[in-house]
């Protein structure tokens, strides 16, 4: 019950923040290398393929391919 309450609190906080505007000149920190993750897409693509063939909970939108015959 406490967990559900905490989840609702986080959701409420997120909702209240929704549509708050961060101006383009205020996005400096959100463009830092440790925040902007576009550089990691290649790395994540291979990692997702590994998880596809090793864990039962692969993200549904991940591209397919049997890989090592172990669908």
């Amino acid at each position: 019950m406490r967990l559900i309450a905490r989840c609702l609190l986080v959701a409420a906080a997120a909702s209240s923040a929704a549509c708050a505007t961060v101006a383009p000149y205020e996005r400096e920190y959100l463009s830092r290398r440790g925040v902007d993750l576009t550089n990691e897409r290649g790395e994540d693509a291979f990692r997702a393929h590994v998880l596809l063939s090793r864990e039962g909970a692969t993200p549904g939108a991940t591209a397919g391919g049997g890989g090592c015959g172990c669908n």
Binding site: V35, N39, E43, R54, G56, A61, A63, C70
Partner: protein, 380 residues
């Protein structure tokens, strides 16, 4: 603010408006990456190359190519434990998208396609992506729809008349009633919100419906001592809920990421994963540490081989269907190269090179695993 932007989006004419229109310059990047995966019975080497081009009007073209070279001694790949073999997989991906200006906000519509070919498994998928940037990108909404078709075969080594081993293709099953195709419909939605100047939250949901061949055509399950082909249910409905919270600490140039994910499906397999990443900028180097925890329950039809009664409809020896948990720890180092500016390598002054290493401790039948990558990227 969001409501007015959405109303404007619905009424504005769709016309392109890009900063690079004035210069007429194409931008993009080229990248290359080597991947290596190691576990007790499997090694994978997978070089990958990708390129992205963006026209002055914002049309974006993506392409990537990957080759998997898999060496395995696992029964899961169709051979006995004391024999290893190498299999090669080729994967090509393409993407095309176009932005539309909506009264100051941006709507991007795109399509993707991917083809994966290997001796015993072909896969093709196509998708549509829609992305809406609102309030100066403070709010980003994305939706995706996809369709995938896989074709499964068995590649069997047989002794030819010449006395040499020869690869022979066979249907996925000796049972002619079994369809060797798999169709997948998927949909995803994400909402990314800048909470303030240093925090960003992303929430996502993905679902997929699978119908067709979903087990390994080589894997046998000993049922009362009799090797029996594996057989999973034909349909599966999968749901994943994800979140990602990013927080940048300007004073120390440290970034933190927390990424939980909850998953449930119609095979009664439920999973939780949680990942923590810490990034530290020490220009021109970016260090990263990551820890990931993963745990899943077993599928409703999973039973230890000794507990499977004769005549059971669904049997599996797939380690992905059993309950297990794992811990992954890893690190990476990324080097930017602004020091090349003004030298004969000036074209690479915005390039980055990175090295990644992860190690997974897990109690699944696959055992522990190591994963390494080295990659580079040159924007232009």
């Amino acid at each position: 603010m969001c409501l007015s932007a959405l109303v404007a989006a619905g009424t504005a004419g769709a016309s392109s408006a890009r900063a690079d229109e004035a210069t007429g310059r194409w931008t993009g990047h080229v990248g290359a990456r080597g991947n290596y995966y190691y576990e007790r019975s499997t090694r994978v080497m997978a070089p990958r190359a990708d390129v992205q081009l963006e026209s002055p009007t914002g049309t974006r073209i993506d392409a990537d190519y990957l080759v998997d070279t898999i060496t395995s001694a696992s029964v899961a790949t169709g051979v006995t434990d004391d024999v290893s073999f190498t299999e090669v997989r080729h994967e090509v991906g393409m993407g095309l998208s176009q932005p539309f200006d909506l009264a100051g906000d941006e709507l991007r519509i795109g399509a993707t396609g991917r083809l994966s070919l290997e001796p015993d498994y072909d896969s093709f998928d196509a998708g549509v992506l829609v992305r809406l940037d609102l309030a100066n990108r403070a709010t980003v909404l994305e939706m995706g729809l996809g369709y995938r078709h896989d074709a499964v075969r068995r590649s069997v080594r047989m002794l030819a008349l010449s006395g040499r081993l020869q690869e022979v293709e066979r249907a996925c099953s000796d049972d002619p009633a079994i369809d060797c195709g798999l169709d997948v419909l998927s949909a995803s939605a994400t909402w990314t919100q800048s909470l303030n100047r240093t925090m960003e939250l992303r929430l996502g949901y993905d679902l997929s419906f699978l119908r067709g061949f979903q087990w390994n055509p080589y894997r046998m399950v000993p049922v009362n001592g009799v090797p029996t082909p594996e057989h999973h249910p034909d349909t599966r409905f999968r749901n994943g809920f994800t979140a990602r919270l990013i927080w940048h600490v300007p004073s120390s140039r440290t970034s933190l990421q927390i990424m939980p994910r909850v998953y449930v499906d119609s095979w009664e397999l439920a999973a939780f994963s949680g990942e923590l990443r810490i990034y530290q900028e020490v220009e021109p180097v970016l260090f990263r540490l990551r820890y990931r925890y993963y745990a899943q329950t077993d599928a409703y039809f999973y039973r230890p081989a000794a507990a499977i009664p004769m005549g059971t409809r669904y049997v599996t020896a797939d380690p992905k269907m059993e309950a297990f948990s794992g811990h992954t720890i890893g690190g990476s180092i990324e080097l930017a190269m602004p020091f090349l500016e003004g030298t004969f390598l000036d074209f690479a002054r915005r390039a980055t090179i990175d090295v990644v290493f992860d190690y997974t401790f897990q109690d699944s039948s696959f055992g522990n695993a190591a994963h390494a990558q080295i990659g580079g990227r040159i924007p232009f």
